[in-house]
């Protein structure tokens, strides 16, 4: 419960070098509380590195990183963010519910409270009946939903997602996108979302951050077409999958997709002579 005045993430002049490779150069980006921001760009543009810097899994070479008003390190130690990777990364030997409980267990939350929270989260992602199942019994999409529930366990105000739907088939992927929008709406968490897919970035995001490689940098920021949630009251299920489907068929959606695609192409063009 951080103040709504504090930005979820604030990056200023962030540089990251791996040896002589400049993965990130002079990145400035602010993500407001509750805002959904996607990072998109070709491989090697540093979008994953940027997410990992926010998560304190990488240390920036230069610049400042603030997460929920504190340092990235402190935010990680306090479990101020939840994280989901391309692989669900569930622990095979634990039940679904025990996997969701893991972050709480690490932070010494009592057993009864963990149980209660896991049940609540599994209901949120629609997997209540699988609480006692093993991850191996679940489909890829279901496993990813468990991973999202796990990321949400400590009630973070920020969700970091590194291509979480990258390994899913197109139909499952679209369903998961609607699901994620509903969850983001219900929890009010800010989301930093790395993706390769232009339509995915547009349909999910308030803002789409376009990046280009060598050195990794932000070239353009384009308004996304995240469907509005009933703003006055956050009624659960206020965002149904059809609302997301409708967005995909509007002219504004196609305009935004075109804008992102052109921004990506421009980034690639300027990349050429720079070598």
């Amino acid at each position: 419960m951080t103040g709504t005045g504090t930005a979820a993430v604030e990056l200023q002049g962030v540089d990251k070098a791996f040896g002589s490779v400049r993965a990130l150069a002079g990145v400035d980006l602010t993500i407001d509380a509750g805002e959904f921001v996607s990072l998109i760009g070709p491989s090697g543009c540093g979008k994953s590195t940027l997410l990992r810097v926010v998560a304190d899994l990488e240390e920036p070479t230069a610049g400042s990183v603030a997460v929920a008003g504190t340092s990235a390190r402190q935010a990680r130690l306090d479990q101020r963010y939840g994280i989901a990777f391309q692989q669900a990364g569930l622990l095979d030997w634990r039940t679904v519910a025990e996997n969701v409980e893991l972050p709480l267990q690490v932070h010494g939350v009592g057993k009864a409270e963990r149980r209660r929270r896991a049940a609540e989260l599994l209901e949120l992602v629609g997997l209540t009946e699988f609480a006692g199942s093993r991850p191996a019994e679940l489909s890829g999409g279901m496993q990813q939903r468990v991973a999202i529930a796990r990321a949400l366990a400590p009630s973070p105000r920020l969700l970091l997602m590194d291509e979480p739907f990258g390994a899913l088939d197109e139909m499952t992927r679209e369903r998961m996108q609607a699901e994620l929008l509903r969850i983001a709406g219900e929890t009010g968490a800010a989301v930093l979302f790395v993706t390769h897919s232009i339509p995915e970035a547009v349909v999910l995001s308030d803002r789409v951050v376009v990046m280009s490689p060598r050195p990794g940098r932000i070239t353009e920021i384009i308004a996304g077409r995240r469907p509005p949630v009933a703003a006055d009251d956050l009624v659960p299920d206020s965002l149904d999958p059809e609302a997301v489907e409708d967005v995909r068929e509007t002219g504004a959606f196609f305009e935004a997709v075109t804008a992102v695609r052109e921004a990506l192409r421009k980034g690639a063009a300027t990349d050429g002579p720079a070598g």
């Binding site: 692989q87 990364g89 932070h107 191996a136």
Partner: protein, 309 residues
Amino acid sequence: MSADGSRAVGSGGAGGTGGVGSGGVGGSGGVGAVDAAGGVGGAGGVGAVVGRGRRFRGASVVVAPVLFGIAVLVLWQLVVTVGGLPAFLLPAPTAIAEQIGAQLPVILQTTAVTGGNALVGLVLGFVLGVLLAILAAGVRVVSDLITPVVLAASAIPIVALAPVFTTMFGSTTEIPRRLVVTVVVVVPVFVSTARGLRQVRPVHDELMVALAATRRQYTRFVRLPGAIPYVMTGLRLAAPAAVIAAIVAEYFGGLQNGLGSRISSAAANTAYARAWAFVAASIVLGLLFFLAGLLAERLVTRNRPGGAS
């Protein structure tokens, strides 16, 4: 061809009964030749029976080896009685069975002693192997110190250790044999567990860092549970080795109350059938440990993907 084979079975069987009746008087070379032909025919007959059993695949898994075992025993009996092999070369199965019956209380007692030694050594070596592997996985310096030593231990022939331990601890205690078993068990358990502890998937690694887990939590929640299938594999490999070590260790002095010492003393006293009776008990004991290890592995890993499921 098949008619020829069945006739051969008949003649072989007849030869067999005749041989048993005449006892170990010793047959001529001619009888031996008939016996050999019968043996070949008999094997063909068994094959046909197994072929019919194939329709029930589950049953044939058990039936096939049992029938094969029986065939081998029959063949063995024929070779000895009809072929007139001297007892010191190979006693007949019937003679061995007779000895098993006569010596049953002693066999059970000595099996219990050797089995007990193997079990104590197995448990000790298992606990030690797992603990050392956890230590080595947690502390770099410990790993650098322990790993070469344990791997070198795998090159220690227990033959060399047994008499030394007996001198160290005296020949009136079970400690030397149990120590030998422990040394033999530690190695596969350590190696297997250490490998399991290194098998952490990168995504789990990242996750635990992102969750700000302590080193201890990381070991408890991710590394140890992930290593369990490997630990159990180590146990399965070590279990029959423990029996072998316990028996072989008895050949080199110390208490004379186990299977190994009975085998060597019976053989030294030219009581060959009795020696073989104890060998049979050793085989049963070894199989028992092997099956127990296998069962433990299956039970523990049954909920894992890639396991027995």
